[in-house]
C-alpha cells in the first residue's frame, strides 16, 4: 500500500473508527473521549491536506477500501479538503464553545459519525457509496438536532429528515437509471460508467429525463427553490457544530454529484433541464436573498444566506463550461468555510448578549474589538470580496454566465448587491452604532484565544485560497477540461 493510499483511506476510516472507539469507551467520558475525537478529526484533516497536496502535484490518488473504490480528482480533492478543514474547525469549536454541551461524549460521537460520512462521500469513486455516505450522515445530524438543538428543534429536524430522504431517494432513482441505461447491469463505479457512456451514447431524450429526476432530487438536497424550506429552519435550530458541518459540507453533496457525475455522463441531454434549474436558481439568488434581508435574527440571516448562495452554484453549473463548474466548486469551497465561521459568530453573539436579534444589538465593537474585526472579515468573505476564496468563485460564475446568457448574468449579479446589503447591515447592526438594549446591560468579554482558534483556521484557509486560487483551480482545471460536457461551448467562447 502506497503512502498516498494510506492517507486517503485513513481520512475516511479514522472518524468512523474513532466513533466506534468512543462507543466502546462510552462510560469513560471526559478526557479520553476528547482525545479519541481529536485523533479522528486531526487524522481526517491531515489526510485531506496530504491527499489534496498529492492531487495538486498531479499524482494519482486512489485506493481500495471496505467501502468500494476511493479516489480523488480535481473536483473531489477540493471538496475533500473542505470536509477535512470544516470538520476540524467544528471540533475545535466544540471544545472551546462558551456554552456547556451536555453529554459531550454522545455529541462527539455524532460529530465523528457525520464526519466519516462527509469524508467518505467526497472520496468515494462509486456513486452508490457516495449516496450511502451522504444518507448515513443524515442520522447523526437528526439525532444531534433532536437532543442539542434550539427551541423548535423537533419539527425542524423532522422536516429536514423527510425532505432530505425524499430528495436522496429521488436521486437514487436517477442513479439507478443512470447505471442501468448505459450498462444494463449494476455497475456504479464512476470510471467504468464513464467508459460505458463513452462506448454507447444514450438517447438525448432519456438523458434529459434522467437528468431531470436527478436535478429535482439533488436540488432538494441543496435547497434549490422551491424545495428549500427545510434549510433555514435546520441551520437555525441545529447545534452550531452540526450547522457548520451541514451547511458547510453536507449540503454541497447535491452540487458535487451534478458536477462530478450527472453532467459529465449525461452531457447534451442535460441542457434543456438545466435551463429550468438555472431559472429556479435565480429565485434562490434574488427571492431568498430578499428573504435574507428581511431577517432580524442573525443566525436566521446566515441560514437564509447560505440557501441564497447555492443559487449562484447552480447558475455556474447551468452554464456547462469549465469556468462555470470550476467557479461553482470554488464557491462551494469558500462558502463552506465562510458560513461555518458565521455560525460560530452567531453562537458567540448569542452567548455574550443572550440574543441573536439584531434589533437588540449594536455598538458591540467597543466591548469586543477583535471579534468585530474577525466578524467583518467573515462577512466580507461571504459577500465575495476580493482576497477571499469566494471572490474567485463568483467571478468565474459570472463570466461563464455572461457567455451563457447575459440576462441571467445581469440578474445574478443582483445577488452580490443583495448579499452586500444584508452582510454589511449585519456588521453595522451588531457591532457599530449606538449600544443596543442587550449590549448595554451585559458586560461582554472579547473573543478568547481558544474561541479564536476555530475562526482563524477557517479564515486562514479562505485567505490562502483567496490569494492563491491556483491551489484549487489547477487540479480543477485539469479535471474539468478532460470532460467533454464542459467543453462544448468552449470554442465559441474563445
Amino acid at each position: 500500500m502506497e503512502i498516498s493510499e494510506i492517507f486517503l483511506v485513513s481520512g475516511v476510516y479514522a472518524p468512523l473508527v474513532c466513533a466506534l472507539a468512543i462507543a466502546a469507551f462510552y462510560k469513560a467520558g471526559g478526557f479520553l473521549v476528547k482525545t479519541i475525537a481529536a485523533a479522528g478529526f486531526a487524522i481526517s484533516l491531515f489526510s485531506s491536506v496530504a491527499s489534496f497536496w498529492k492531487c495538486f502535484c498531479g499524482c494519482q490518488v486512489a485506493a481500495d477500501s471496505v467501502f468500494g473504490q476511493l479516489g480523488l480528482n480535481g473536483v473531489s480533492a477540493a471538496m475533500y479538503l473542505l470536509a477535512g478543514i470544516v470538520g476540524f474547525a467544528a471540533f475545535v469549536w466544540t471544545l472551546s464553545s462558551p456554552k456547556k454541551i451536555e453529554n459531550i461524549t454522545a455529541y462527539l460521537l455524532c460529530m465523528l459519525a457525520m464526519q466519516g460520512g462527509l469524508m467518505g462521500m467526497f472520496a468515494s469513486q462509486n456513486i452508490l457509496w457516495m449516496y450511502a455516505f451522504h444518507e448515513f450522515a443524515l442520522v447523526p445530524t437528526f439525532i444531534a438536532m433532536c437532543v442539542w438543538g434550539g427551541e423548535k428543534r423537533r419539527a425542524a429536524a423532522m422536516e429536514m429528515a423527510i425532505y432530505l430522504t425524499f430528495g436522496a431517494l429521488l436521486a437514487l432513482l436517477g442513479i439507478i437509471a443512470l447505471a442501468f441505461v448505459a450498462t444494463r447491469s449494476l455497475i456504479f463505479n464512476l470510471p467504468e460508467l464513464v467508459e460505458a457512456f463513452g462506448a454507447n451514447a444514450v438517447n438525448p431524450k432519456d438523458a434529459g429525463f434522467i437528468f431531470a429526476v436527478l436535478a429535482v432530487g439533488l436540488g432538494a438536497l441543496v435547497s434549490l427553490f422551491p424545495l428549500h424550506s427545510w434549510a433555514p429552519k435546520t441551520y437555525e435550530q441545529a447545534p452550531t457544530a452540526f450547522s457548520m458541518l451541514h451547511a458547510g459540507v453536507l449540503k454541497k453533496f447535491g452540487l458535487y454529484v451534478l458536477i462530478q457525475v450527472a453532467i459529465p455522463l449525461l452531457g447534451v441531454g442535460a441542457a434543456s433541464a438545466l435551463k429550468v434549474v438555472a431559472t429556479l436558481a435565480l429565485f434562490n439568488v434574488i427571492f431568498i436573498g430578499l428573504c435574507t434581508m428581511a431577517q432580524t435574527n442573525f443566525k436566521a440571516m446566515v441560514s437564509y444566506s447560505s440557501v441564497s448562495h447555492m443559487g449562484l452554484c447552480f447558475l455556474g453549473i447551468a452554464s456547462m463550461s469549465v469556468l462555470g463548474a470550476g467557479g461553482c466548486v470554488l464557491i462551494m469551497f469558500g462558502h463552506g468555510l465562510s458560513v461555518a465561521a458565521l455560525f460560530i459568530f452567531a453562537e458567540i453573539v448569542n452567548d455574550r448578549f443572550s440574543t441573536c436579534d439584531m434589533r437588540l444589538l449594536g455598538g458591540a465593537y467597543k466591548k469586543m474589538p477583535v471579534c468585530a474585526g474577525l466578524f467583518a472579515a467573515a462577512i466580507m468573505a461571504n459577500i465575495g470580496l476580493p482576497g477571499f476564496a469566494n471572490f474567485w468563485g463568483e467571478f468565474c460564475v459570472f463570466i461563464s454566465l455572461w457567455n451563457y446568457s447575459a440576462a441571467f448574468c445581469a440578474l445574478a449579479v443582483l445577488g452580490i448587491i443583495i448579499s452586500a446589503i444584508y452582510g454589511l447591515r449585519a456588521v453595522a447592526n451588531i457591532f457599530l452604532g449606538g449600544e443596543g438594549e442587550n449590549v448595554k446591560t451585559r458586560g461582554a468579554r472579547d473573543i478568547s484565544w481558544r474561541e479564536r482558534a476555530a475562526v482563524l483556521i477557517l479564515l486562514a484557509a479562505l485567505v490562502i485560497v483567496g490569494f492563491c486560487p491556483r491551489l484549487i483551480t489547477n487540479p480543477l482545471n485539469g479535471t474539468l477540461s478532460d470532460i467533454a460536457s464542459y467543453n462544448l461551448t468552449q470554442k465559441s467562447a474563445k
Binding site: A23, E135, V139, F142, V147, L170, L172
Partner: protein, 478 residues
Amino acid sequence: MDSSNGFIATSADWLAVLPEAILACFGVLLILAGAFKKFPPIACRMLAYLGFAASLAALAFAGKESAFFETLSSRAECTALFVFCGILSVSMSARYLESLATKNAGEFFGILMFAAAALSIFSRSQHLMLTFVALEASAICFYALIAWGRRTVENLEASIRYIIASGVSGAFLLLGIAFIYGASFDIGSDMLYFGNFTEGAGSALFGVGAVLAISAVFFKLSAFPFQFWSADVYQGSPLPVGAFLAVASKSAAVFVLYKMLISLPYSSSLVNILSLSAALSIIVGNFGGIAERNPKRIIAFSGIANAGYLLVFLTSAVVLLNLGAENANMISLTLVFYVLAYAFALYSVFFTQSLNYSESDYNMDICAYNGLSQKNPLATVSLTVALASLAGIPPTAGFFAKLLVLVLAYAAGLYWLMLVLILGSAASIYYYFKWIRASCEPAKEGAVCGFGRGYASILLALTLAILILGVKYALYLC
C-alpha cells in the same frame, strides 16, 4: 404417482420432511414436558433450543426429491428462516412467561414449534390443498399463541380478531381451490399443482379461483385490501408472538405468493392488480403509520408498507420472468435479502420493546422511550440502526433491500410504482424517526424511563448483522 409405493412412505421420503418432523416431534415432547409441574421452564427452553438446532441440522438431509411428498417442494432453505425466528422468539419469551402467573412454558414453546413447522410446510407446498392445510395449521397455532395471556382482555381481543381474519382468508382459499378444481375438470389436469397453473390461461373459472387464492395469501401478508386486521392484532399480541407473526408469517406468505405468481400464466391484468395493491399497501401503511403513537401499531403499519414493497418486488418479478429468465438469479437473491433484512431489523426492534418493564405496552405511547439513551445506550443504538434499516438509510441492510427492489422495478419498467415507493419511504421517515427521536430525548421531568437492560448480546448481534449484511452486500454490488 408411482403405484408400487403409492401410499407407503420409505425412509428416504421421510428425509424430505425431516426438519418439519423434528420440529413437530419436539413440539409434542415440550407439551408433554409442560404437563409435569416439576419440569422447570429453563429446561423447557433448552429443549426448545435443542429442537430448533436439530431441525436446522436436519436441513442438511432435506432437499431430496420424494415421490411420496410430491406436493412439497424439495427446496427447504426457507425453513432455516422460521427456525431462526423461532429461536429468537423463544429467547424473547423468557421474561414474558415469567411475568405470567402460569408456568406452562413447555406448551408455549411447543405451539411455537408447531407454528414454525406449519409455516415451513406452507412455504414449501406446491399444491393448493397442502397450502390450505398448512395455512390452517399455522393459523390455529397463532390463535393459541396470541391469546396466551388468557386473563388479559387485549390478548383475547387480538386473538378473536385474528381468528376472524384468518377464517375469512381460509374460506377464500378454499373457495379458490373449489373454483380451480372445477376448472381442472374442463381442462383435464390437476391444476391445484402450482406447476400446472399455466394450463389455466384463458379459463375464467381458473382466473376467479386464482384471484381468491392470492387474496387468501394477501391476508397473511397483510397487504391491501386485506391489511385491516394487522394493527389491532399486533397491538394485542404478546411480544414474542407478535414478532413471530410479523416476521415468520409474513415471510412465509411472500414465499408462497412468489411461487404462485411466477407459476401463473402471465397477463397484464395480473400485473395491474398486483401493482395497484402494492401502491395502495404502501400508501395505507405509510400514511396510516404517521398517525400512530403506539410502537406495536407503528410496527404493524410499517409491516403493511413493507408488504407493499414486497409486492412491488413480486410484480417486477412477474414482469421480468415473463420477459426472460436472465434476471432469475437476482430476483431470488432480492427475495432472500429483503426477508433477511426485515427479519433482523424487526427482531431488533421487538427485543428493544421487550425491555420495557413498567407497564403493559398495549396502551404505550412512544414517549415512553424518552430517556432510553441514558438508561441503555446499547438498546438506543440498536433501535436506531434497526429503524434506520426499516426506513432504508444506508449502509444498513434495509437500504440495499430497497435498492434491489427499486432496481428490479426499474428493469421491469414499473416507473410509477417506483415513485410511489420513494414517496412512501419519505413519508415513513416521519414515524421511524419519531421513534428514534423519542429514544434519544431525555425523560420528562419527574418521569422515569420504564426500560431496563438485557438481551445485550442478541441486540448487538442483530445490529451487527444489519450493518454487515448491508456493507458486505454493497461490496458484492460494487
